[in-house]
């Protein structure tokens, strides 16, 4: 499979969205108007860099920035 590449600008675009809410990848691809494979790659790189993270209640999974997730977790823990 061909290596997926992307620009810094595209990465920024994704990151911007990730700080707003928890996303499903296809949604994120739609709103950023980027290819799904590209979005996946960007998100995984952001995760590996410790900037973004996955979030899941068990059945389905989402992605967002670490910061957003931590806040969400706090809210959930408090009920």
């Amino acid at each position: 499979m061909a290596e997926v590449t992307y620009t810094e600008e595209e990465k920024k675009k994704v990151l911007e969205q990730l700080s707003k809410k928890t996303w499903k990848i296809p949604e994120l691809a739609k709103i950023t108007q980027l290819d799904k494979a590209k979005v996946k790659k960007i998100v995984q790189d952001l995760i590996d860099e410790g900037i973004a993270g996955y979030w899941s209640a068990g059945s389905t999974a989402y992605v967002a920035t670490k910061q957003y997730i931590e806040e969400l977790e706090k809210k959930r823990a408090q009920g």
């Binding site: 809410k21 209640a57 059945s59 969400l72 809210k75």
Partner: protein
């Protein structure tokens, strides 16, 4: 950096030497007595597999005790079955009874849970089950407690081979059916019976409204854009809890009205008859902790009615195939109500046409 993606230990690291040696070269097996299976390899080697019931929820201290016993009798190897029973491997017949004695005395796990198609005498195995009030956020019933209560009552069937055919009992604490009760001879499934009561505050704080609305299979939900909340059309709601899974602001728990439905007639193996989904035969039994007497009574009644009437090798659905659902309800004394008539229009009944079996001709 932390090591990731290294996967589970490779299976062959943890096989008993006799198993490793005879891997793929087993000749036959023989059920010596309930709980004890003798396996003979082409090489002439033999091994006794000894099975014990377990509550599934295990303390690390119990696991260590099991390890001690395995070190003593089983050369340091043991396994679990797909129905949460523990198995030891003994190479000499003489040690079998000592092993059984030690497990029963020290750990309190009963030997049994096997069956023997050869003689046509079947034991009851463990109940596959789920989290319930131990861990999950959507259960309508507890899991472990009901399993304990049912197995106490059916204990004699576990430690002996007294049933005419295989009978798999499963439990799932909600309609998500993590216990895969949708294809079990007898199944207990937790159900809610009240629609969600939207908690506007929680919805606003923690939920994504569009995906919650979209999660409802019957279209019972509508976004209330102005109030930033969700409206429920209670007529359309069948209490599946999907909305609650998506959004904590949609609780539908009602202790008085949650409870269990009982399903029967599922089957997975392709032995004789093609696989079948379980069917609801009791729409609702209330939650009666700690020992759910009504539910336990129903399960026993169904099991024993089947056991007393079925022929050898005739699983519950095969028995019903022969006698008809009319007679099933008559013999078990259960009532057929209109709840039991399918009206879930969303189901892909196309499987009425697509084969669900490996039964082929060439």
């Amino acid at each position: 950096m932390v090591k990731t993606d290294f996967g589970p230990p490779k299976y062959d690291l943890m096989l008993h030497p006799v198993i490793k040696k005879n891997y793929g070269k087993w000749k036959f097996h023989e059920v010596v007595k309930p709980g004890v299976i003798r396996r003979v390899a082409e090489s002439g080697d033999e091994i006794y597999v000894v099975r014990f019931g377990s509550p599934r929820l295990l303390s690390v201290y119990t696991i260590r005790e099991l390890c001690d016993i395995a070190d003593k009798y089983s050369d340091g190897y043991l396994r679990w079955t797909s129905r949460n029973n523990v198995e030891f491997f003994v190479t000499s017949k003489e040690k079998v009874d000592a092993l059984i004695k030690e497990v029963e005395e020290k750990i309190g796990f009963p030997c049994g849970g096997t069956w023997d198609a050869v003689t046509g005498k079947y034991g009851l195995s463990n109940i596959v089950h789920t989290q319930g009030w131990i861990h999950c956020h959507t259960p309508a019933i507890d899991a472990s407690g009901i399993v304990k209560a049912v197995m106490d009552e059916l204990y004699e069937y576990f430690i002996d081979h007294k049933l005419p055919a295989m009978c798999r009992i499963s439990l799932a604490c909600c309609a998500n059916m993590c216990g895969a009760v949708h294809a079990s001879d007898i199944a207990i499934v937790g159900i809610h019976r009240t629609p969600p009561l939207p908690d506007d505050d929680a919805i606003r704080r923690t939920c994504e409204i569009p995906s919650t609305v979209a999660a409802c299979p019957t279209g019972a939900l509508k976004p209330d854009m102005k109030a930033k909340t969700i409206k429920v059309d209670v007529e359309k709601c069948m209490y599946c809890g999907n909305c609650y899974t998506m959004c904590p602001g949609m609780p539908l728990f009602d202790p008085e009205n949650d409870g269990a439905a009982i399903m029967v007639g599922g089957k997975i193996s392709d032995a004789r008859r093609m696989p079948e989904l379980s069917k609801v035969v009791v729409p609702w039994v209330p939650n009666e902790p700690p020992r759910w007497p009504t539910l336990v009574k129903y399960i026993k009644q169904i099991l024993e009615t089947w056991a007393n009437n079925a022929r050898k090798h005739e699983r519950l659905i095969e028995w019903v195939d022969r006698i008809g659902w009319e007679r099933f309800f008559e013999l078990t004394g259960l009532e057929f109500t209109d709840h039991l008539i399918d009206d879930y229009r969303i189901t892909p009944y196309i499987y009425g046409e697509l084969r669900t079996s490996t039964q082929f001709r060439w």
